[in-house]
């Protein structure tokens, strides 16, 4: 069973601060995905990382896949209140079944 551990579980910061959340496992993955989920909504895909060492940017969000493809990180620069939500990493198997981490709940205060 693939186990994805996310840290921290909770993060409360002021608007304008930077932050990094982590997704770690002892397993090697062919790809990892990051989702954001807002209250009352389903998760929305932000990015898929596939290649070890890969870095992808989405506006103020930077995603990195570890060289060994066992871990990933999400860095947010100059966080905004609109970034508030639950950030989930997930591994996908060949049948498109997703295994999620426990999530990082981010609150950005104005």
């Amino acid at each position: 069973t693939q186990l994805l551990e996310q840290s921290p579980q909770f993060l409360s910061i002021q608007e304008g601060e930077n932050l990094t959340v982590y997704c770690n496992s002892s397993s090697v993955f062919s790809s990892l995905q990051w989702y954001r989920q807002e209250p009352g909504e389903g998760p929305v895909l932000l990015v898929t990382v596939v290649t070890g060492g890969e870095v992808k940017k989405l506006k103020r969000l930077t995603f990195q896949f570890g060289d060994a493809r066992k871990d990933s990180s999400l860095h947010i620069t100059a966080a905004q209140p609109g970034d508030t939500g639950l950030y989930l990493c997930a591994a996908r198997n060949a049948g498109n079944m997703l295994t999620f981490g426990g999530g990082t709940r981010l609150m950005v205060k104005p």
Binding site: L45, L88, A90, A94, N96, M97, F100, G102
Partner: protein, 114 residues
């Protein structure tokens, strides 16, 4: 283009009862997966339906069953409800035509068992 729609949005049931949740996939999608998300946790995979058959199943008891209809919509049934079944139930749809297609999630059904 309607996304994934789930009904009802909220539901309260008594322990021991049975419940049916419904999902309509995004237009053009033929694969439906169901997930259970307990409060404060990440979603857990229940099962996946394709061509009206269960293709994959997570670690959930037989009280959880499902169905997919010819129009690709799906139902999740849970029998003999337990208090621990209280959760947000998410449906995700994806296309089968290409491998590793993106899964789109509905807004979920919030089930409370009392």
């Amino acid at each position: 283009d309607a996304g994934v729609t789930q009904s009802p949005t909220h539901l309260i049931k008594t322990r021991g009862q049975q419940v049916t949740l419904r999902c309509s996939p995004k237009s053009g999608h033929d694969t439906v997966s169901w997930y259970q998300q307990a409060l404060g946790q990440g979603p857990q995979f229940i099962f996946q339906y394709y061509e009206e058959e269960e293709r994959q199943r997570g670690n959930f008891p037989d009280r959880f069953s499902g169905h997919q209809f010819p129009n690709y919509s799906s139902e999740l049934n849970v029998n003999a409800l337990l208090l621990g079944d209280s959760a947000l139930y998410l449906c995700a749809s994806s296309g089968q035509g290409q491998p590793n297609t993106e899964a789109f999630f509905g807004q979920g059904t919030r089930l409370t068992v009392v």
